[in-house]
């Protein structure tokens, strides 16, 4: 456990804040990797790296429960603990790539997009949220993608298309040829996207979430099939997703190790 300081906090949406932390090791994280953040006296939770460099690392956190709410209540200068970076990362693809993010799942994809921007032939991004306020990083993504290649969707139609993020995908996948699809977000969304790429025999890399305790591949809390999400993942490719299809978007291990529906 390394002790780290929160040096900056940015409000991204009514429920999401970005925290910039000092940490020499996590500052070397690659897109897709995550860290374990200790909120002293409260909990330790996994968070995807949003950005890294210069001895700093950023994470975007949605307040959903006890730990994340406590984290939102912290101010710059507060002390937290950090372990990581953990897990594998997205592979770099150089051709035409499509990124599909839902909710805070957009965070690692923004990190990835920044890295791929200069290297790929074309980079398209589809982002979905419930409502306009929750569409994260639209400004940053606008700076990376050109207008045509950034599609946003909201369930209530307050911004972009009024639909689920999966809806514009079908036609996009049929119309254009992609060399790689990257996705991260709610597992039901990931599952649907995977079904779409499978039907079209397209390569995909999806970042998954499971309950994390040790973060280092030991305790088994984060298993999906035979894989440890913390160590073998969190990024899985099409072949691996096929192997875990029985659980993908369907069930996960709960705190007591029993399988619970997603």
């Amino acid at each position: 456990m390394r002790i780290s300081q929160i040096v900056r906090i940015r409000t991204e949406s009514p429920t999401v804040k970005t925290f910039m932390l000092t940490d020499r090791l996590c500052a070397k994280a690659k897109p897709g990797q995550f860290l374990m953040l200790w909120i002293p006296g409260v909990d330790e939770i996994p968070l995807s790296v949003l950005d890294a460099g210069d001895n700093l690392v950023s994470v975007s956190v949605k307040a959903v429960g006890d730990a994340t709410r406590h984290l939102h209540a912290l101010e710059a200068g507060a002390t937290v603990g950090v372990r990581g970076p953990f897990g594998n990362c997205f592979t770099e693809s150089r051709g035409r790539v499509l990124l599909v993010g839902g909710g805070t799942g957009t965070a690692p994809l923004l990190f990835l997009a920044k890295q791929l921007a200069a290297k790929t032939e074309r980079l398209s991004f589809v982002e979905g949220a419930k409502t306009k306020d929750e569409l994260l990083f639209v400004h940053e993504l606008g700076g990376i993608c050109n207008e045509k290649s950034l599609i946003t969707t909201t369930e209530d139609g307050t911004a972009g298309l009024q639909c689920l993020v999966t809806q514009p995908l079908a036609s996009l996948l049929d119309k254009e040829k992609f060399d790689m699809i990257y996705t991260c977000g709610p597992e039901i969304m990931v599952k649907k996207i995977f079904e779409m790429t499978e039907k079209r025999k397209l390569p995909i890399e999806a970042s998954l979430e499971r309950l994390m305790r040790c973060g280092i591949g030991l305790c088994g809390s984060c298993m999906i099939g035979k894989y440890r999400v913390c160590r073998d993942g969190p990024v899985f490719n099409a072949a691996q997703l096929r192997e875990v299809q029985e659980e993908l978007g369907i069930s996960k291990l709960g705190f007591d190790g029993s399988r619970i529906p997603l």
């Binding site: 002293p40 002390t79 603990g81 305790r213 705190f255």
Partner: protein
Amino acid sequence: MNGEFSLESNPLSISFAGLTLANPTILASGILGYSAESLNRVAKGGAGAVVTKSVGIAPRAGYSNPTVVQAESGLINAMGLPNPGIEVYSEEIRFSKTVLRVPVIASVFGYSAEEYAVVAKRAVEAGADAVELNVSCPHVKQTGAEIGQSPKFLSEVVQTVKAAISKPLIVKLSPNVADITVLARAAVEAGADALTAVNTLKAMAIDAETMRPILSNVRGGLSGAAVKPVALRCVYDIHEALGDVPVVGCGGVANWRDAVEFFLAGASAVQIGTAVAENTEVFQAVTKGVETYLRRKHYGSVKEIVGLAHRK
């Protein structure tokens, strides 16, 4: 998979307490042990047998995070025995038996002799090839004292479980005692077929900046390379005191040399926990190394070197 005959002539195969293993490396309890798939992965990584996550009578969510913290050459963990309860876990054991080709040892815990017995019985009914008792839990009727620290409680638990099951019974001893041979003897006299030595050392980590204990449970168990010298001494103590009782060494095994040290101290097999984080195929690597060692030293079988460090 090798048949019985080839297992017998296999220099790495070992038998103890009625179990026959193709090689003497075993997955330690609590490591990747929730699901049949993960146990199977470890088996494919070369483990000669697997021990499940410790399971109790009712579901337990365990402690909240942090549950694991790094120590110098080791880890401190306080998971809090998260487990779905034997009811649900029986299914996992049953499923394990259909996919795994190595013995499945069910790790069982409880807060009274009766609880241990109920869970052990269910585990065996579900197909477990053996039962390992995790006796590092406090005795409910006698708050504070852990069952594994009292010869009297331990004896009671072992006897009750022994009467309830027909499969081999292994008792996993705690190193947090004044004299481990007293507990070892109590377990064996009460009917244990083998002993595992040892569980983790009671430890903790404090963070100077936030001035707090790091683990949510404050105290946890130290594992990994740091505890190897203590675990080795425990195995040596037991072998010296109890001679032929099969002992499974556990604590800090990460390579073939560690494993050999445990065999020489008196272990018939070793369990591997912490080192699995680095490499789920550590079992294969250890087994290979032990095989090379035996060949180089002109021993025909791993059995021949068990306890050799006791030679005068």
